[in-house]
């Protein structure tokens, strides 16, 4: 494992994330359309949308501050960084030691805070409403996610994502009750964090129930393109994270070409299945009232704490 090839691999992972993220979102939308018995947009619809938005000029409110204009770039950078840290194609990443699982939660939080601040910058009713709700979702989702990572960290005795994935990948195929709890909690958190039904609806506009869309209502043009792309990257990062934690088979430790030939198709296959399942969950559930969302996330939080306790009670090495 030479440094040059692992740097190259890291770069490849970055490029894969940038390209695959819109595809994944497109795939989920396609599945949703099929399951809802509608005709689906093409898989590449998201690229066209990005291209269109980059072409358009930015329409900016007169009282926007420079924070409002900087935020899309910062949010995009956070999400790019997050998707490079998550081990997808290999666990031997030169970037790995820069940020561990706790720092990854921190990156998501940083992006969330900037989104919320930008949402409040213009001072419209919808923007502040969205920011307030986003922070409400965040304050419960963030610790739940952290607790999921803690469970896996206790199993692998490390908070480094690479080590976690390596340890989980090498274990024998057996059901770990703690991981089952953690998996359910993680799924619930991912739904909430990615603005999915039942907590938020990614396709909603002009509705009093919107959260994420309400915050970014004032964005247009390239700013909106970056934010949409960042949202796609977030979904991609969360999906890869779930796959790496709970279905880690197929992520090689080394770097060589052969390993890549295994890693890429298995990643694509797992993402396709995961995307379909996400669309299925969204199709069969109804959106919750906003004040049911804390209950939903509270359940996720308790499940993730239970996962830790279960690990300590049943699985801890004596």
């Amino acid at each position: 494992m030479s440094t040059a090839s692992s740097v190259l691999l890291q770069f490849l992972e970055l490029i894969t994330a940038l390209i695959a993220a819109p595809l994944l979102t497109g795939w989920v939308n396609q599945c949703r359309a099929w399951l809802g018995n509608r005709s689906a947009p093409p898989l590449t619809q998201f690229y066209r949308q990005l291209a269109k938005l980059f072409e358009k000029e930015v329409v900016l409110a007169g009282n926007a501050s420079s924070l409002f204009r900087a935020a899309p770039y910062i949010i995009f950078a956070c999400m790019v960084l997050a998707s490079t840290i998550v081990p997808t194609l290999s666990t031997d990443l030169p970037f790995g030691p820069a940020a561990d699982a706790i720092a990854l939660v921190g990156i998501f939080a940083l992006a969330r805070v900037f989104t919320a601040l930008a949402g409040m910058d213009i001072g419209t009713a919808f923007g502040t409403l969205g920011a307030r709700r986003e922070m409400l979702i965040g304050f419960l989702a963030e610790p739940a996610l952290l607790m999921v990572f803690f469970t896996t960290s206790l199993i692998s005795q490390s908070t480094s994502l690479s080590t976690i994935v390596e340890t989980l990948g090498q274990r024998e195929f057996a059901i770990y009750p703690s991981l089952a709890f953690a998996g359910v909690a993680f799924t619930m958190v991912s739904l909430a964090e990615n603005a999915r039904i039942p907590v938020d609806n990614p396709t909603t506009h002009l509705e009093l129930t919107m959260i994420h869309e309400a915050m970014i209502l004032e964005y247009s043009g390239r700013h909106l393109a970056l934010i949409e792309w960042a949202a796609a990257l977030k979904l991609y990062a969360y999906s890869c994270l779930g796959l790496a934690l709970f279905f880690p088979w197929g992520i090689p430790e080394g770097t060589g070409i052969f390993n890549l030939l295994v890693a890429l198709p298995s990643l694509a296959f797992k993402l396709a299945i995961g995307g379909f399942l996400l669309a299925a969950i969204e199709t069969v559930s109804a959106k919750l009232r906003i004040f049911r969302a804390p209950e939903f996330l509270g359940t996720a939080f308790i499940l993730s704490v239970l996962a830790m306790l279960v690990h300590l009670l049943l699985e801890a090495p004596k």
């Binding site: 930015v58 007169g62 924070l67 720092a103 805070v113 206790l154 306790l309």
Partner: protein, 680 residues
């Protein structure tokens, strides 16, 4: 610096104390000469602070030095001692006070409260007494310094003593400070009871050598926890904090929150790890539980405040809670002989002390600038200030992000270390504690996430959005002296966030004498493999974090994205009105107020608050909505205690009949009783 012929490091510290006292005395020579005080004395005080910080930094890893001053009681002269723990907190005091004093130089206004000279004296006595608290090496010197600190800060809090609320806040502060001081005094009394004859037992050196039974050690610890907890704002002795912080002038709030609360942490560390060196496991568990309750309580209340300084005061309670969580964890580990983990937990505590001093002082100073620019502390009357006060806003943003514990800023580092300490707990030889730890870790994670909520509210309501009052358009940015103070503290935040490895290496010098282990040393060569970039407290395989790489990659991605968008597309912008779903009648009053932003949390955590709501009916001519959120403790604990005290006083007053014959009867009865006793 320490090698100056004939001068020890501690002499430098004491000369800084003298310099501060001299500045204070120089101020009352001309108490009304505004320019002389603001432009000469405060900057001089800042310089002394800076020199103190440098000297303390140099003294961090030196052997302890002891000096006996020719002052004090006949058999108990003032003992002074400078060891690494004192040096660290002196560094914190010097570093923060440098920023706060230079800010004060620009902040001071004519005709506000006390005469500027008197205030300058009180402020510098406050600084000097805090330094003496950290240097004291016997109970008497400690108590003298501790009481001067309490008194000088009381006078500073009540600067605007013509306002009744401020007098009330000052009274509450003084009361709780003294209840705490009595407890600390009793604690020293217990500590000296170890065989040393006479008053010499009150030196810390003799306390260290004394042997205590488990019961008396626990009693001393409990008294210390109560006494220092009262100063720190530990539940249920926190009530003075949200009253006193808003009442005091902003630099004083910054000083109290950033530095004075840390002297209480210093006291707990001094007693628990230095004077008593054999902690019992349940001390740790009790402190951990108290810390968690305090942290959650603080952050939940912080979220619903609409006064910006009260919000920060509650946030200080939260941070104190987190510090006690770390102390509890360190005590637990130490009691089971796991020194390396105890060192990890204690390092997170010390690191968080430095962090909190930097970012909370910064945020309090920011509120000071906002207060001077807008004349209001109420969040409901602010908004949009980022356009009028860009310096304050952007530096405040740095403090807010640090305080919210977001990477790559400083709050995240200590939070990260604390969570790492939690993660390595399994292995405690006590099943139930092992089970409790995940719950505690979950509570810490929840607190940290809620802190993000609070900080978004603080920043967004003050600086973003539309101005909620027309007068805000005339708000002005801070002057250059104020800016210098803010920049200094913001730079401290950034440095602490970006270069944690240097700081931890220095903190090793503090944890090693106390616990016998330091994490930088314990990690060994493996952790140092990556050099100063990577923070890896146990080993790089277990956990690592590199803030500089983190920041650089974000900056790099932002720059790359910007240039790619510019190169391949365009940078066209059209400025118009806000879109807001096409709703045309937007006004500033339609934004979330502070109450509105806190509303979800009021609903989620409803049982924790004592709320009185007045809802308007649909027929009201002038509809009024009012919500008052109060603290249960005030009604459950403080008012009953106050009533009890009043009842006791009334019972005693029964003796005072106001008639001379009754008093003569008392004297006669006393005389007879005494004669009866002496006879036997």
């Amino acid at each position: 610096m320490a090698n100056w012929p004939g001068l020890l490091s501690i002499d430098w510290m004491l000369s800084a104390v003298c310099a501060w006292l001299a500045i204070g005395i120089a101020a009352i020579i001309a108490p009304r000469n505004f320019r002389y005080i603001a432009r000469t004395l405060y900057p001089a005080g800042a310089l002394v602070g800076l020199l103190l910080a440098i000297a303390a930094f140099a003294a961090l890893s030196e052997t302890p030095e002891v000096v006996v001053l020719p002052l004090g009681l006949p058999d108990l002269p003032f003992h002074m001692r400078l060891d690494s723990l004192s040096a660290l907190f002196l560094m914190l005091l010097g570093g923060s006070s440098a920023g706060i004093s230079i800010f004060s130089a620009g902040y001071l206004r004519k005709a506000e409260g006390t005469a500027p000279g008197v205030q300058c004296l009180q402020y510098h006595v406050f600084l000097a007494s805090m330094a003496l608290v950290l240097l004291a090496d016997d109970a008497y010197a400690f108590m003298v310094a501790w009481e001067s600190m309490a008194l000088s800060s009381f006078f500073l809090v009540t600067s605007d003593h013509r306002i009744p609320e401020i007098r009330r806040a000052g009274y509450l502060y003084l009361l709780i400070a003294h209840v705490g001081a009595i407890s600390i005094l009793l604690c020293f009394g217990v500590l000296q009871g170890g065989g040393h004859e006479g008053i010499a037992g009150y030196t810390f050196a003799n306390m260290r050598n004394a042997e205590h039974s488990a019961f008396w050690a626990s009693a001393a610890f409990a008294l210390a926890l109560f006494g220092f907890g009262a100063k720190a704002g530990l539940l249920p002795l926190h009530v003075w904090l949200p009253e006193a912080h808003p009442a005091a002038p902003s630099p004083v709030s910054a000083m109290m929150s950033g530095v004075m609360l840390k002297t209480a942490i210093y006291g707990v560390l001094r007693v628990a790890f230095d004077l008593l060196h054999q902690p019992l496991w349940w001390w740790g568990v009790a402190v951990l539980a108290l810390g968690l309750v305090t942290a959650l309580f603080g952050v939940i209340f912080s979220a619903v405040q609409s006064d910006m300084k009260r919000l920060l005061a509650y946030s200080s309670i939260e941070n104190i809670g987190l510090l006690f969580v770390g102390i509890g964890l360190a005590l637990t580990f130490q009691s089971f002989g796991m020194t390396a983990l105890a060192a990890l937990a204690l390092t997170s505590v010390l690191y968080h002390c430095l962090n909190h001093a930097a970012f909370k002082s910064l945020l309090f100073l920011v509120t000071g600038s906002v207060l001077h620019a807008t004349h209001t502390r109420s969040l409901g009357k602010l908004g949009g200030l980022i356009h009028h006060m860009p310096w304050v806003a952007w530096l405040g943003l740095l403090g807010v992000l640090s305080s919210a514990g977001l990477p790559p800023f400083n709050g995240f580092v200590s939070e990260w270390l604390l969570l790492q300490a939690f993660l390595f707990t399994p292995g405690l030889p006590h099943g139930y504690i092992n089970m409790m730890i995940p719950l505690a870790a979950a509570a810490v994670a929840l607190t940290a996430a809620l802190a993000g909520y609070v900080m978004v509210k603080f920043f967004a309501v003050i600086f973003l959005g539309q101005p909620r009052e027309a007068s805000l358009h005339h708000a002005h940015d801070a002057g250059w002296l104020e800016r210098a103070g803010l920049v200094w503290l913001a730079a401290l935040c950034a440095a602490l966030g970006l270069f944690p490895v240097f700081v931890i290496e220095k903190l090793d010098a503090v944890t090693r004498p106390l616990l016998g282990a330091g994490i930088y040393q314990a990690a060994g060569a493996a952790a140092r493999e990556h050099g100063w970039l990577f923070l890896a407290p146990i080993s790089p395989d277990r956990a690592s974090y590199a803030p500089v790489v983190f920041l650089l990659s974000i900056v790099l991605i932002v720059a790359a994205t910007y240039f790619i968008v510019r190169r391949f597309w365009h940078m066209r912008v059209r400025i118009t009105g806000a879109w807001d779903c096409g709703f045309p009648m937007q006004t500033a009053r339609m934004q979330d107020t502070a109450e509105g932003f806190g509303q979800p949390l009021r609903q989620v955590f409803e049982p924790f608050y004592r709320m009185t709501r007045e809802l308007p009916s649909s027929f009201d001519k002038k509809p009024v909505y009012r919500v008052v959120v109060e603290d249960h403790f005030w009604y459950w604990l403080y008012l009953p205690v106050a009533k009890l005290a009043e009842f006791g006083a009334r019972m005693v007053a029964f003796l005072q009949q106001g008639r001379i014959s009754i008093y003569l009867l008392y004297s006669f009865v006393t005389l007879v009783v005494l004669l009866f006793l002496i006879r036997g």
